[in-house]
């Protein structure tokens, strides 16, 4: 083809870029092109937050997550809180009660013992709150300069309580899309300390275990079709993953999606979109329209999801997209994050 004679820019796929870890399009590409093709199996291909499988007649969920956040301590939590809550939440998104966690530490030579104790204490506390024991672990130390203070990996096993499979494949046209609270707190809390930005009214990370809210939905007999916690890539990446796996269209109304004044202000200032900013204590739930009001009532009775709202609904459509009705009434596609969310120039 004639176009090959042109010096086209090299596609950013022959080397790992930071954006490969951003939770957006490149992360998905990495998973599909490298990991799925190598490890291919049924549980992995469901592309859920955790794997669900049967063992000894019961349903089990298993998940793992690695935490590399800087700074290690930030407003509202520590890397240890994230490591416990994140894994508990991935299990919760499978409809599973957390049974046990593991913790693996990569420590950098020179890390202060006091910092390590602070983080371990926060993990112990988070595990107590989530009512899950940390039953096994591992420690490695790397040379100074080969790690960023401390990295933590946690893995978790949970007992599936949900009567039916929870995941994108269960989403149906007509389902209501519920968002459990206001968005963007974690991402902005991290940015505020990382960049030394100070906002009126401190922004604290929303890191928290989501299982109590999910358990309440299941206990009340709500027919939960799909759950997803809104971590990297925010609400829009989560909705896009679900829409594309379910091959349905999800519509949301911008005016219904809660974002606090301080997060909105910070996003305006930094040129970020709160729908793409990371959370650590928020999730989206897909339930039948007939269950939506009851589900909202239950969610609102738990402090972690007290700000739950109905944000949109699911429609028939085979191309798997998310569209948004803007605050002023126009329509557009709500796309998956592409690359890193970078500050704008002016």
């Amino acid at each position: 083809m004639a176009i090959l004679s042109c010096p086209l820019p090299r596609p950013a796929t022959d080397r790992i870029l930071l954006a490969h870890g951003g939770g957006g399009r490149l992360t998905n590409h990495l998973i599909e092109s490298v990991f799925l093709s190598a490890f291919s199996n049924f549980a992995l291909e469901s592309r859920h937050d955790g794997a669900v499988f049967s063992a000894n007649g019961g349903g089990l969920a298993m998940t793992t997550d690695t935490y590399v956040v800087q700074p290690l301590v930030f407003p509202g939590g520590t890397i240890g809180d994230l490591a416990v809550n994140g894994t508990v939440n991935d299990l919760a998104m499978c409809g599973a009660r957390p049974l046990a966690l593991s913790a693996g530490f990569v420590l950098e030579e020179g890390l202060s013992m006091e910092m390590l104790r602070t983080i371990v204490a926060s993990m112990a506390k988070a595990a107590r709150v989530a009512k899950v024991p940390i039953v096994t672990g591992d420690t490695k130390v790397v040379d100074k300069g080969k790690g960023d203070g401390l990295f933590v990996n946690t893995a978790g096993i949970g007992a599936v309580i949900a009567p039916k499979s929870i995941g994108p494949e269960s989403v149906c046209p007509g389902d209501a899309v519920l968002v459990s609270g206001d968005l963007g707190l974690h991402g902005i809390a991290i940015l505020s300390v990382r960049n030394g930005l100070e906002f009126e009214g401190e922004v604290k990370s929303d890191t928290a275990p989501l299982w109590p809210a999910v358990e309440a939905l299941l206990d009340a007999g709500i027919k939960v079709h799909c759950l997803r916690d809104l971590t990297r890539g925010g609400l829009s990446s989560a909705l896009n993953e679900i829409a594309s796996l379910a091959r349905l269209r999800i519509t949301v109304e911008e005016a219904r999606i809660p974002v606090s004044g301080v997060v909105r202000g910070a996003c305006e200032l930094l040129g970020l979109d709160p729908l793409y900013v990371a959370n650590e204590g928020r999730f989206v739930a897909f339930v039948p329209e007939s269950d939506a009001d009851h589900a909202l009532e239950i969610l609102r009775s738990h402090s972690i999801s007290a700000g739950a709202v109905r944000a949109g609904m699911v429609h028939e459509n085979s191309c798997g997209i998310v569209t948004l009705q803007s605050r002023v009434g126009g329509h557009r596609v709500l796309d998956m994050l592409s690359g890193e969310q970078l500050p704008r120039i002016c």
Binding site: P9, T323, D335, I345, C346
Partner: protein, 376 residues
């Protein structure tokens, strides 16, 4: 949030859309100059609210989009020097040069950092006295005052390890270049509010008169843009061609004199190549002789012999408002934000990226959506 919520208010926006319908009797093509305006229009689906006959075409006002390939190649070459910390605004990092973007250079080991202000780069120079800190200064009149200030401060504080790679451009010469093109479709401009906040709008009067074209200085929120459209269409319908100011809460006729003074002290006007458009006389800024010591181009001479664009990319036509992004054969297929052929697919202010991410659609058809999602 004050100064935002009232300009995004659903009923106020609806009323303004009705006002536009009332004054519109025929078809008109308007260009919004600034990429920030394009972003709002596409992101809020504003075109849905306009009468059929009103077409908004997107202008050249995306700073990273018009920065020439040669300049990006130069920035990459400088960033690859081991003593250099190269700083720029975030969007600039992803724009493809001939073979690499700054982000590619970073992945290969170059010390490339994102800053929010050129003064942050100056701070970096102070705290890293053994390194050379180079700030890649791109943008229009909006970013020029802060960049001028950083050079002025560096001179005042005698910070020797700071320099600036300057690729500044000016808006009015680009508007004239668009208007003097034989296939120009633009009948009125929504001028870039923040550029005018710095420069005022007297310099648009001769352009408006010479080409008999309405120019409305316009803000960036949905209500601002609709009011800008309403004012421009009212002029077109009544045969007037004047400069009007919709963005009066931020823009004064004379602009910000202190900022203009600092720009004039540090920079002088020069010819400048615009990516996708070509060289435009007297359309850019460079450091004055008194500040040449801070010029990264002379501090780090680089031989850029062969800077090349993708021949498929129609960025030039998009930046001049002659094509919509989705009219490009590569849009959404061979050109996506993950592997862009041209700069407008990179920046959040680039028209192609805005169309790709927000793929404008109406309830009755998914044609644009299917283009925008073709690569998923």
């Amino acid at each position: 949030m004050k100064f935002l919520d009232e300009y995004r208010d659903y009923s106020a926006v609806k009323r303004m859309a009705q006002a536009i319908r009332r004054v519109t009797t025929r078809s008109w093509t308007l260009m919004e100059v600034c990429g920030g305006q394009t972003y709002t229009i596409v992101k809020t689906g504003l075109q849905d609210l306009l009468p059929e006959g009103i077409t908004l075409v997107h202008g050249p006002g995306c700073p990273v989009c018009v920065t020439p390939v040669e300049m990006i190649d130069r920035a990459v070459a400088i960033a690859n020097r081991s003593e250099v910390i190269l700083c720029s605004f975030g969007d600039m990092l992803r724009v493809p040069g001939s073979t690499q973007s700054l982000l590619d250079a970073k992945a290969l080991g170059a010390d490339v950092r994102i800053v929010y202000s050129p003064l942050d780069a100056l701070h970096l120079a102070r705290s890293n006295p053994k390194r050379e800190v180079v700030f890649f200064a791109v943008g229009f009149e909006t970013t020029a005052p802060a960049n001028a200030m950083a050079v002025w401060e560096a001179e005042r504080q005698q910070i020797q390890n700071f320099s600036m790679l300057v690729s500044h451009v000016l808006v009015p010469p680009a508007m004239e270049a668009i208007l003097s093109s034989p296939d120009c479709r633009v009948q009125a401009f929504l001028a870039a509010g923040h550029v005018c906040m710095v420069m005022g709008f007297d310099e648009y009067v001769p352009i408006s008169q010479k080409y008999h074209v309405p120019i409305v200085v316009t803000g960036f929120e949905p209500l601002d843009l609709l009011e800008g459209v309403q004012m421009a269409v009212s002029q077109l319908e009544s045969g007037r061609a004047e400069v009007e100011n919709q963005y009066a809460r931020a823009v004064r006729r004379s602009g910000n004199r202190a900022a203009q003074g600092r720009i004039a002290q540090v920079f002088e006007i020069t010819r400048r190549a615009w990516r996708g458009i070509g060289e435009i006389p007297a359309s850019g800024l460079r450091l004055r002789a008194a500040y040449r010591d801070f010029d990264a181009e002379s501090r780090f001479p680089v031989d850029i012999s062969h800077a090349e664009e993708s021949c498929e990319c129609i960025a030039g036509l998009v930046l001049r408002g002659q094509r919509k992004p989705y009219e490009c054969p590569a849009f959404g297929t061979r050109c996506t934000p993950d592997s862009p052929l041209g700069a407008p697919m990179v920046s959040s202010e680039g028209a192609c990226a805005a169309y790709f991410h927000f793929g404008r659609r109406k309830e009755d058809g998914d044609s644009i959506v299917s283009i925008a999602t073709a690569s998923n």
